[in-house]
């Protein structure tokens, strides 16, 4: 289906959502998918439903042969090499396609993790940082899953602070090898992977990355961890005991390993967010199916208001998550489309274009992983006692979801990235946040102003979003005034500011998408957006109050609270009725729908 408003090719500055208003044609939504995108979604959906889901129980028992077989099958369809250049046997498709694959393959948690570790963090370091030789040697085999990839950064005593790693690399006397010594922890795919991206400090000082094959002497894999969830994925330590790595397998430059380490996580985050949205879709479908057949008090429990409320909220989250994910990847694709793929700088430019949206990517990682946790929690609740036993899908999904808030940068680290990155951009003038904060302060101190009132079915929500942006700027401005550069050390305030920023971005994404859809009638989309905005404002209000109360007291506190109250002024909407409308439709359809 063609979209009503074509997507413009205007490049958008990362993080600018707090200070700029977006036109509808600047926002990419799932409704803007091309025929190709839809087909990729269909292929991935079918593959996950027909090939992965039926063998989930076997995979859960750590059947690595079957896991590898599925990776090979996925690679035959091209699913493992969406982001690998064509020259090296990949599909070289846009980031929207990569997000679609990540979202649609997510029907069984363990395989999602295996798949992501292989095609994402296991393969992309070579795509983005490898030499021509390294790319030629490894990428074609990774693309076909003849080689399975893995990524080894964490150690027992360094996780989020990966730069403190103890693994050492020393050049051999003949200058032909680096000799690696140390231990890596929590390495996904370790049991059956062939190629590992391993981080170590050259001479104990210079943080660097290496491509290590499992056959290199001195390389060993430890025992499987006993995990809370994703038990069908492999997680082991690696033991490097005088492991001989040929010098040509140094990845990137000596001492520049941190660029690889952090970038690869940045580059992968949007897919984690997309995968979480996909997982929530499955959870909702399970919850509806169960609620429709389970009877209590002579009726199916899908008739009960409190059950319907949970189901509606899951749909609202999926709607909002999709909106934020595809808006973000859409912006990336516009930025990436300007890069000449033939130029020698192409990979560096590509990295830069994705980094531009580091804040947005962290937002969808944090928000997506927390939304999936809400969804699987609600599914367990809908199942009642059956949700608590292993025979039903709710229990496993509940356990599998939890790790998403921990890996690829904990949600706490990502919250610090969100606020910190924006502040840094503001300080360096890359993003004119400071002038915007100043303008806002002048405006609010000058008393109520009559700005233009938005129109249309989502007029109230548009006004709320505009005010939420002001709340973000206001609280961030007040906090940086108080702490100046030392704000980065105030983690609780940084976190609360991140919450305001996250919710603002997500609800704006939902509002823009619903508006875009409104041109052809979007009653359900509008309802889901309205419910989300109402929910987000509760979070924003609590976070804003927390920040203000922490940084001001006495008269100052009263003045700032007066300003905040003005920005928080909006009429409550009947979310019970809206949720009822949403629940009725998704229960009837048996799955998440947008119309």
């Amino acid at each position: 289906m063609a979209t009503a408003t074509p997507v413009s090719r205007k490049k958008i500055t990362g993080g600018s959502f707090l200070i700029e208003e977006r036109q509808l044609d600047e926002v990419f939504t799932p409704e803007d998918f091309t025929d190709e995108h839809r087909q990729i979604a269909q292929t991935t959906d079918e593959f996950a439903l027909k090939e992965i889901a039926p063998v989930a129980d076997k995979l859960e028992k750590k059947d690595w042969a079957l896991t590898r077989e599925l990776l090979t099958k996925a690679s035959e369809l091209g699913l493992t090499s969406v982001e690998v250049p064509e020259t090296y046997g990949g599909m070289d498709m846009d980031k929207v396609s990569a997000a679609i694959v990540a979202e649609r393959i997510a029907k069984y948690g363990s395989f999602v993790v295996t798949f992501g570790a292989h095609s994402g963090i296991g393969t992309l370091p070579i795509v983005y940082f490898g030499t021509e030789e390294q790319k030629r040697k490894y990428l074609p085999k990774l693309a076909t899953a003849e080689f399975v990839g893995a990524y080894a950064l964490s150690e027992s005593s360094s996780g989020s602070d990966a730069l403190n790693c103890r693994t050492k690399a020393v050049l051999s006397p003949d200058g032909k090898h680096y000799i690696l010594n140390g231990e890596k922890m929590w390495i996904t795919n370790a049991s059956f992977a062939d190629v590992f991206i391993i981080f170590a400090k050259v001479d104990g000082e210079k943080f660097s990355a290496f491509i290590v094959e499992k056959t290199f002497p001195g390389f060993a894999v430890g025992a499987e961890e006993h995990k809370m969830g994703i038990r069908g994925s492999s997680t082991c330590p690696l033991i490097l005991n005088d492991c001989k790595v040929p010098v040509e397998n140094l990845l990137g430059e000596i001492g520049k390993g941190h660029i690889i380490a952090f970038n690869i996580l940045n580059l992968g985050r949007f897919k984690l967010g997309a995968g979480c949205v996909g997982g929530a879709r499955t959870a909702l479908q399970d919850a509806i199916a169960y609620a429709k057949q389970r009877k209590a008090f002579n009726t199916t429990i899908s008739q009960f208001g409190l059950i319907r409320e949970m189901i509606a909220d899951m749909a609202v989250d999926i709607w909002t998550g999709e909106s934020a994910v595809y808006r973000t990847v859409g912006m990336m694709d516009v930025a990436l489309s300007e890069i000449d793929k033939g130029s020698p700088d192409a990979t560096r430019e590509t990295r830069k274009a994705i980094e531009e949206y580091a804040v947005e990517c962290s937002i969808i990682k944090v928000w997506g992983s927390e939304a999936l946790d809400r969804a699987v929690d609600a599914t367990v609740q809908v199942y009642g006692g059956y949700g608590f036993v292993e025979e039903y899908p709710a229990e496993r999904a509940y356990r599998d979801s939890r790790v998403n808030r921990i890996f690829e940068g904990t949600n706490e680290i990502n919250r610090l990235i969100i606020t910190g990155f924006l502040m840094k951009r503001a300080m360096t003038g890359q993003l004119p946040l400071m002038p915007a904060i100043k303008r806002l302060m002048d405006e609010v101190l000058g008393g109520p102003s009559m700005s233009e009132t938005p129109e249309g079915p989502l007029a109230a929500e548009k006004a709320i979003v505009a005010n939420a942006k002001k709340i973000a700027l206001f609280t961030a401005g007040a906090a940086s005034q108080k702490y100046m550069q030392a704000l980065v050390d105030q983690q609780e305030i940084m976190g609360a500011l991140a919450d305001i920023i996250i919710e603002t971005y997500c609800m704006e994404s939902a509002v823009l998408r619903a508006e875009k859809l409104a041109e052809r009638g979007a009653e359900l989309a509008t309802a889901m957006t309205q419910v989300y905005v109402a929910r987000a404002m509760v979070t924003i209000e609590a976070a804003a109050r927390k920040v203000i109360a922490a940084i001001a007291e006495g008269d100052m506190l009263r003045t700032q609270m007066a300003i905040l109250r003005r920005l928080l002024k909006y009429e409550p909407i009947n979310t019970i009725a809206l949720r009822e409308k949403i629940a009725a439709r998704v229960i009837e359809q048996g799955k998440y729908v947008t119309a």
């Binding site: 025929d35 190709e36 087909q39 990729i40 498709m93 396609s97």
Partner: protein
């Protein structure tokens, strides 16, 4: 071998259906998918091409949305597509659909034409057979297997009660394909990418109009069977009630 596969877009199997206002068909606002038997017909055509070489062409009739069926077929490996594009093609009966197809492929030589055994929506199971008649070709239905011979083809037909029939027939011929005779492939990402550049010919309703005639078949009324539950208490002594019960089970419920 040059093979034409006739395909149809039908409402998704698990989609809740609503009747249109006139109560003659379902409402348009449902999700659609490829008619399942047609998917097997396409798969069989692709396999024959892989074995013997040639070309696979896909054809469908329906509004713009029906193009999705052709795109999917192209992504799976069909070489080109013909789209009879108009919402007016939706209401055609099997005779007229066959006439429209016959007109659209006039002057294009094919060795074989495949259709699915029947459509998941109307379920006429006639389009292929009538098309064969219009072209003056032989046909065989419920095909389980196709083997190329020097003189033509040998096909295996499914009969009832586990019996099969083997038929040697000349080509060109029309075959209607049974579901489940092969394993369907997925559209690969590379296939999806390449499909964009494959030719898709459009045929308008006006171009096909002269071949059409008034529908011979018509759906007067469509309704969703109502679930009814009635409880009746039989009165009287045990023997009398037993007798009434047997009568009811025999004459009304017809279970004994």
């Amino acid at each position: 071998m040059k093979i034409l596969v006739c395909m149809k877009q039908v409402p998704q199997k698990d989609a809740p259906l609503k009747l249109n206002e006139s109560g003659t068909w379902i409402r348009e606002d449902v999700s659609y998918e490829v008619n399942e038997p047609d998917a097997y017909a396409l798969e069989e055509a692709l396999r024959q091409k892989e074995k013997h070489g040639g070309e696979v062409v896909v054809i469908t009739a329906g509004p713009a949305r029906a193009q999705q069926v052709l795109r999917e077929a192209l992504a799976k490996g069909a070489d080109r597509a013909i789209h009879l594009e108009d919402a007016g093609f939706v209401g055609l009966d099997a005779f007229n659909t066959a006439r429209a197809f016959a007109a659209a492929i006039k002057d294009q030589p094919f060795d074989l034409i495949f259709t699915g055994l029947q459509s998941d929506d109307y379920g006429f199971a006639q389009t292929g057979v009538i098309l064969a008649e219009l072209l003056g070709w032989p046909h065989a239905t419920i095909i389980m297997q196709i083997e190329k011979k020097d003189s033509g083809i040998r096909v295996k037909r499914e009969l009832e009660a586990g019996f099969f029939q083997y038929v040697d027939m000349p080509i060109p011929a029309v075959l209607t394909i049974q579901s489940g005779i092969n394993k369907l492939r997925y559209a690969t990402l590379i296939g999806i990418k390449q499909a964009k550049n494959k030719p898709m010919k459009k045929v308008t309703l006006a171009e096909a109009q002269s071949a059409l005639a008034p529908n011979l078949q018509q759906i007067r009324r469509l309704y969703i069977p109502e679930k009814t539950k009635k409880t009746e208490l039989l009165q009287g002594g045990a023997a009398e009630v037993a007798k009434k019960l047997v009568e009811k089970l025999r004459d009304e419920a017809r279970v004994i």
